[in-house]
Subunit: 615 residues, 2 copies
């Protein structure tokens, strides 16, 4: 078997594939979300991509569907074009990159041991001398495989199906078991079909991973925007919307529909069916967790911010309206506190900081930053209300990290930036704001309070190159990133004095959280051996920029490691391992939650850390 | 407090009541089913009864509602008439005695220990320094009462209610617990409201007992005909009707509606509400058990007659469509085999034959007779297909033991009979058929094969008195019980040659069952110390008649004890004691079921026992 490399642009996402693989399959393999409306048979032409290098011969179908100009430009249909040599592909359609979601995982070994297992058995025929009931004969058949016959449990819906199932399969049937409870019976041998799906339900995005519970292999990853967004962009506005029964129901239904949609998409894309799914695991922040389970998160929204419950929970999928096998169960990971949710538990499950003999700092930065400091099995955690600056909200030209967003800025001879999806920019996202402000700090263009110097106060040689970019905006200075002619909408894109202020509040909150955790656990920067950045923002930011602006302590710059969507990884682990899922309760319990608002020095520490540290 | 006696006729049902009690209350206390459409306020006049002795002054309302003639005849309204001295009351309305159902119980001591318990707690308010979740604070509150906090379980519906419940009760709430699982939460202190209902679901009749789970007291008993009867009178025709999905659903729905109706009636009559019910226990034959649980009984109907399952089962009441508290559970007792059901298990639970060091024979005689022979903890059981003769079906003038049925016949100087409900007879029921045929045996009017002697062959002096009653019917002799002018319909009532034949088949089957059980367990008649007769028919028959005709071995006549509706008693015990319910599985398992059809000597023994034993 021969392997070749394929790199997708923008983003330089590279993977290795077998020769002959189609670009569509490679996109799936690289977990790049894309729609193939015709099902990938070359009919709809919606999967146009531009092959920058390594294109081979066009197929006949492609020649039919693509104009001469398109063919000359290197356009191909991803579903038909095969990869035979190293290839660079540019993704063209916004759908192809609409959700720039991180789905790489922190791999760690664990014992594959799914909660749900299948056992194919042959049930003996009854006779006048063996007039045992159907259920008793099933227990006898399972006993052959070592199941303690007297401890086997069953519930009514299964007993209702059992006689017909035995009849249909002529005694041959597959039992679906959760421990010693038979939760499903299927005629014939279906033991090879055993899938599950791990979900990371974020406030903004929902990611699902379809997993084979027998091999432990990930079959496909799918994602969608959380449709609850129409009822409020952040956790607090969702809690408010859930204030009355109808609002609560709408939010619950919205996420249920979305999850069912992702399940359908995933199974369709791998050519399976919903009935093959027997388990779903859930990582989510506490509010998303409650809303998904239909539990009102009201009390999370008001002091003292308590959740209805934190404990890990197993729920019948049917009861939750999830369209998978009738025997399917939902494994909801435990929360830690009202603002440190099951997603953080999942990150801990994936990264195992409690098993190390050194101090680890774990940051999942977003509107609410979750911070965990782990040392010698003692873990402290807090939630820092960073506000929406990192998501690009309340920033003059801010936007989410989607197509058209400037995601990185660098200051060399010239100022340069990259745009998600290529093309002209429409705004800047959080990671670019970080780069920009970090540049201003290093160039000496702002003071420690974050205020732009007057253009004629600039002293550093380097900074003088960018003097012309300082423009007046709203009665203060702003820094021009892209001229009106360079942008998609014909308006300039800049970083304003106010944007810097927003960023200062955000990074001050995170840093205060980090420092308070260190203080309460008696740790010093020197003790910290590793900083793990989890989540989408943490994996797109430039760590150097984060350290320059003081979002992450400068002292830790060399110790930073990005661990991808560790919450998703944790959810996968919980799905694939009953031991890991049940261990999660202890893990969550062992974390001491620090409520920053009740920490007397919080305001002072927060204020101090809104400042920048200049050289 | 002064007590007086009241006796209800027909049936001579006597109870003691406080002076001043209304007749209506006394009827309830005596468990006599009656309708009081206006709710017992003297408005509808439907509860007319005839006071034969001890009537006092009529109330003003009664004077308004009753005619002068009625007043002179001693008619009173049961809902208004108070009892101040010993009283004899004749029930007039067929409704008042429509279901002549046995509800006395075999009392035996057991430890009151209901599966479901309630615990009132006060949940601490959360604060910034105690930001535990609602569930954790409830667990903390329960821990004060000795509940192992780490083992407490909860399910999603309860977690959904918990925040609102805590809020409503301002921290004061009552937890409903099944072992260590919280299955309900109620604002405030509701710990005094804890009821359950035990059901004996028969093919013909459903009886329910409303019980207080705290005191163990029976609050009221209610009953109704099993509405499934419209789809078939016996077990086999129900199984046939359940052959397709729609039939199955109709049968399941019919019994569900009936049980819900009885629950409603019971709680209304004691002035409570459905929400106070948290547990339901079920005794039933295997087919009724399956139909009630929505499990198709198909395989019970065909050889080798296996059930879908026998094991005891706990099911959420809501899942079964039962309208009681949302936290309510259903405890279905285990079956023993396809034709020896949970009702037999209940009889064993109530009568505890396995705890005695002597041999006990237990008979529950009906269309299917269930027979258990218990000795030294070893129990064998069988089901004998007696056919419908005991229920009065396929008998020339047969009818069920309802109003108008001749229920007993005696042969002294003259032949006398009694009629259920008094008045003119409409037919004879099983117990009278037994008495009649026993008389024929003792009078020497039939030979050992059951054939009537010719009138001129009669030799016994006694029999000559009844010679005139021998009439020709359908080409054979028949015995006239009631002349055409004596009956309600103007047709004679008789016992025909064919009726005797039907009875022979029925008693032959029961006796064969008894003998085969004795043979397989190596017991002799001398070993049997007690014969327990359970069920309605067993408690209405004349034991002497049963022994004369050979339904019960003559040798055991002095050892017979009637134990009332022991299946109902067993259901009550299972409801009131978690230990007894869980012990029932072992009890049912310990019974060896003998399939009579597979017993090689069955046909010979059956045929022998259709004969009568003449002196």
């Amino acid at each position: 078997m021969k392997y070749v490399n394929i790199i997708f642009q923008p983003g330089s996402i590279g993977i290795q594939v077998e020769t002959g693989t189609t670009i569509m399959k490679a996109m799936n393999q690289a977990e790049l979300r894309a729609d193939f409306p015709c099902g990938g048979v070359g009919k709809c032409g919606k999967c146009r991509v531009k092959v920058l290098a390594g294109s081979g011969e066009l197929t006949a179908s492609e020649k039919d569907r693509l104009t001469i100009q398109e063919q000359e430009e290197g356009i191909r249909l991803a579903c038909l074009a095969e990869i035979h040599e190293n290839m660079i592909v540019e993704l063209l359609s916004p759908q192809q990159l609409q959700h720039h979601i991180l789905m790489d995982a922190l791999d760690r070994p664990f014992y594959l041991n799914a909660n749900v297992i299948k056992q194919f058995v042959e049930v003996k025929e009854p006779s006048l001398s063996n007039h045992k009931s159907d259920w008793q004969r099933l227990k006898d058949a399972l006993a052959i495989y070592g199941y303690a016959e007297h401890q086997l449990q069953v519930c009514l819906p299964i007993l209702r199906q059992l006689p017909e199932t035995i009849k249909q399969g002529e005694g041959k049937l597959t039992a679906v078991l959760l421990g010693l409870e038979v939760v499903g019976v299927e005629a014939g041998d279906t033991s090879a079909n055993l899938w599950g799906m791990a979900f990371d339900i974020g406030t903004t995005t929902i990611v699902g991973y379809l997993m084979d519970l027998i091999s432990g292999k990930e079959l496909i990853a799918v994602s969608t925007l959380n449709p609850q967004a129409q009822y409020g962009g952040d956790v607090i506005s969702r809690i408010t919307f859930a204030g009355n029964r109808e609002g609560m129901e709408r939010l619950h239904r919205a996420v249920t529909v979305a999850v069912n949609g992702l399940i359908g998409e995933a199974v369709e894309r791998v050519g399976g069916k919903r009935e093959n799914l027997y388990a779903i695991s859930i990582a989510a922040n506490t509010t998303m967790h409650h809303l998904f389970l239909g539990v009102n998160p009201r009390s999370i929204g008001v002091s003292p911010y308590v959740s209805a419950f934190n404990q890990g929970l197993v729920v019948n999928a049917f009861e939750l309206g999830l369209e998978i096998n009738r025997a399917g169960q939902v494994y909801a990971l435990p929360n830690i506190a009202g603002f440190v949710g099951a997603d953080t538990t999942a990150v801990l499950l994936a990264s195992e900081p409690e098993k190390r003999d050194y101090v680890t700092l774990i940051l999942d930065i977003g509107t609410n930053g979750e911070i965990v400091l782990a040392s010698n099995k003692k873990m402290v955690a807090c939630s820092a209300a960073a506000g929406p600056a990192f998501e690009g909200a309340q920033i003059t030209n801010g936007m989410r990290g989607a197509i058209g967003a400037i995601d990185h800025i660098s200051f060399g001879e010239n100022m340069e930036f990259s745009v998600i999806g290529g093309g002209k920019p429409a705004g800047i996202c959080g990671s670019a704001l970080l780069d920009g402000v970090a540049g201003f700090v290093e160039l000496g263009m702002i003071n420690k309070r974050g205020k732009f110097l007057e253009p004629d106060e600039l002293t550093k040689t380097h900074s003088l190159r960018f003097k012309e970019r300082l423009i007046e905006y709203d009665g203060a200075w702003a820094f021009l990133i892209a001229d009106a002619v360079e942008t998609v909408h014909g308006r300039p894109i800049m970083i304003t004095q106010n944007d810097i202020r927003e960023l200062q509040l955000a990074k001050g909150a995170i840093m205060a959280g980090v420092k308070i955790l260190m203080e309460t656990s008696g740790s010093q920067f020197d003790d910290v051996k590793e900083v793990l950045l989890a989540g989408a923002f943490g994996n797109y930011l430039n760590p150097h920029s984060a350290c320059v602006i003081g979002l992450i302590p400068k002292e830790l710059e060399g110790k930073i490691r990005m661990i991808g969507n560790a919450a998703g990884t944790g959810a996968k682990i919980a799905l694939l391992s009953a031991d890991e899922f049940s261990r999660a309760d202890n893990l969550a319990d062992s974390v001491s939650f620090i409520e920053l608002g009740s920490y007397s020095k919080f305001n002072r520490i927060f204020a101090e850390n809104t400042y920048f540290q200049l050289d």
